[in-house]
């Protein structure tokens, strides 16, 4: 019988990513309810030293495939390695993050393991001994409760939604060799062009200050950047601002941009079109600054200021400076 709650830990350049601790914490909670263990799969090159960090968040056993062939993430190598160990151990539940890498890896595993998956979940529980995953559908216009009938029962979890909770376990290391040779691989990473700005990615940011068409032009984003720098926030944008060429595509939040879940989302000069809300409505707190009291964004906002953003934002920065 299938058993064990399994996660795939995500690392890049030899460091675990925050999402790994979020999934480990969810897995621990589910395993405790089921009276089962948490096993993590960690694939990479020179990553063995990371096992204790996973143990801190409730992982009983860490299965490690450590080989130079895994130095860069590629779908074919990672997916083959994870599929092998998960199959051999007849995993009951398999959780990944719905980060960029997790989206790619989890979907490829659905194919390799011939199973079902609930993607980008915002809540997850056990009902009648089975996984019950809750996820936004139709851009968050409704929610679906998903039951996976096949094993492993897979789910990917939206980053920044689930808290990372420390709960130290043994973190016993089991090394495994997936027997993959370089010649088997059909894809390779030719180049990694790093964003040198050092800014946190929107999908991982705790706070986002976002500007829309109301910003009037690219230079005006300076006031948003000043506020963001002060708050340690990332800067986002509406599609109108991206399509106007004021901000890069990577900043776009929404249905055809990024889906974000920060603790605080400050929407400045954004009307709140349904496609924009699709990307940010799972934020914990939403602030709207807009001169139009009728703008739909106010219906989603926890706090709203109806006024000219060019007058308000610099004052917000000034007021925040006093306390931070």
């Amino acid at each position: 019988m299938a058993k064990g709650v399994w996660i795939v830990a995500e690392q890049r350049d030899g460091a675990l990513r925050k999402i790994s601790f979020e999934i480990a914490s969810v897995a621990r909670k589910l395993a405790d309810e089921l009276g089962d263990d948490v096993n993590a799969v960690l694939v990479g090159s020179g990553v063995e030293g990371l096992a204790p960090e996973l143990a801190k968040y409730g992982v009983d056993k860490v299965y490690i495939a450590d080989d130079p062939i895994y130095a860069n993430y590629t779908t074919d190598a990672y997916s083959a390695a994870v599929a092998k160990v998960v199959k051999e151990n007849d995993a009951s539940i398999l959780l990944l993050g719905s980060s960029v890498q997790g989206k790619d890896l989890s979907a490829s595993l659905v194919g390799k393991l011939a199973t079902g998956m609930a993607s980008d979940c915002t809540d997850i529980k056990i009902a009648d001994g089975k996984l019950l995953a809750i996820r936004p559908m139709y851009a968050g216009k409704c929610f679906g409760e998903i039951v996976v009938e096949s094993y492993p029962q897979m789910a990917s979890l939206r980053p920044n939604v689930f808290p990372a909770v420390e709960n130290a376990k043994a973190g016993e290391v089991v090394k495994f060799d997936a027997g993959i040779a370089a010649g088997d691989l059909k894809t390779k990473v030719l180049e990694t062009q790093k964003d040198t700005s050092g800014k946190v990615d929107l999908t991982e940011a705790d706070i986002i200050v976002s500007g829309g068409r109301g910003m009037k032009g690219p230079d005006e984003y300076k006031i948003i950047e000043e506020l963001a720098d002060l708050l340690g926030a990332a800067v986002g944008a509406s599609r109108a601002a991206v399509d106007a060429g004021w901000r890069p595509q990577t900043d776009q939040v929404g249905q055809t941009g990024k889906v974000v879940s920060p603790n605080l989302y400050i929407a400045c000069g954004i009307s709140g079109a349904i496609q924009h809300l699709a990307g940010m409505s799972s934020s914990k707190y939403i602030v709207a600054i807009n001169k139009d009291a009728e703008a739909p964004i106010f219906a989603k906002a926890d706090y709203g200021i109806v006024d000219d953003l060019f007058k308000v934002i610099p004052e917000v920065t000034a007021a925040a400076k006093k306390i931070l």
């Binding site: 779908t75 960029v100 890498q101 989206k103 790619d104 979907a107 490829s108 659905v110 194919g111 011939a114 199973t115 079902g116 998956m117 993607s119 996820r135 936004p136 559908m137 139709y138 851009a139 216009k141 409704c142 929610f143 679906g144 409760e145 998903i146 039951v147 996976v148 009938e149 059909k186 894809t187 390779k188 990473v189 180049e191 990694t192 062009q193 990615d201 706070i207 708050l231 595509q249 990577t250 776009q252 249905q255 055809t256 603790n263 605080l264 349904i274 409505s281 707190y285 602030v287 709207a288 009291a293 906002a301 926890d302 706090y303 200021i305 109806v306 006024d307 004052e315 917000v316 007021a319």
Partner: protein
Amino acid sequence: MNIVACVKQVPDTEALIKVKPDGSGIDEGGIKWVMNPYDEYGVEAALKLKEANGGEVTVVSLGPARTMETIRTALAMGADKGVHITIDGADAYNTAAALAAAIKDINPDIVFCGQRAIDDDSGQVGSVLAELLGIPQVTIVTGLEVADGKVKAIKPIEGAQLVIESAMPCVVTAQKGLNEPRYASLPGIMKAKKKPVDVKDAAALGISIEPKAKIARMTPPPVRAPGKIIAGDDPAAKAAELVKLLREEAKVI
């Protein structure tokens, strides 16, 4: 070059989505159906490849009878022929299995999908399809070059951008930024009416559907408690009040 583009028909992004009272699904009344926006990028990429290398573009779509309109839209954009798989409501794995059954005989050099369908928002079908066809995949792609039997793709990840090379045939899933999809021209629309579309059901494809992921229930989104509009005429006073609320009430800064 043998090029395949998978397209899904989805509700228009503006559509109001209402869950049926019994939670069994959405109420489809009054919905305007369109091609999934990410699939438009896939079709455009397919047409560009054909223009550069010659060959044929086949669009494949699985869905109820109305899906034919979306296939015709892709044909009007310039695709050569279509396959309509008349299965309704399959999960990601079974959708991919049906697409794979229809696509394998085409012997594609490259298959385009969208990175995600904006109805189920699942983002799985392209990858599962690649696995079932036994070919490599590059997902969520914003740039593409095809030369010497290889694909070179740009893929943004958190804080970086990757340049990935893949052998062909492969599956590529399209992200916004890949290109600007063309509109169907009037002559294109006229021509599309005469282009061939194969209609196949599960039996014709030789597959049986065993659901793997089931939607047990659908619910409307949780209601957000009404927010606070900070009153007053002085921007500085309102800003100070906001900062105070964020600090003391929400505790997020």
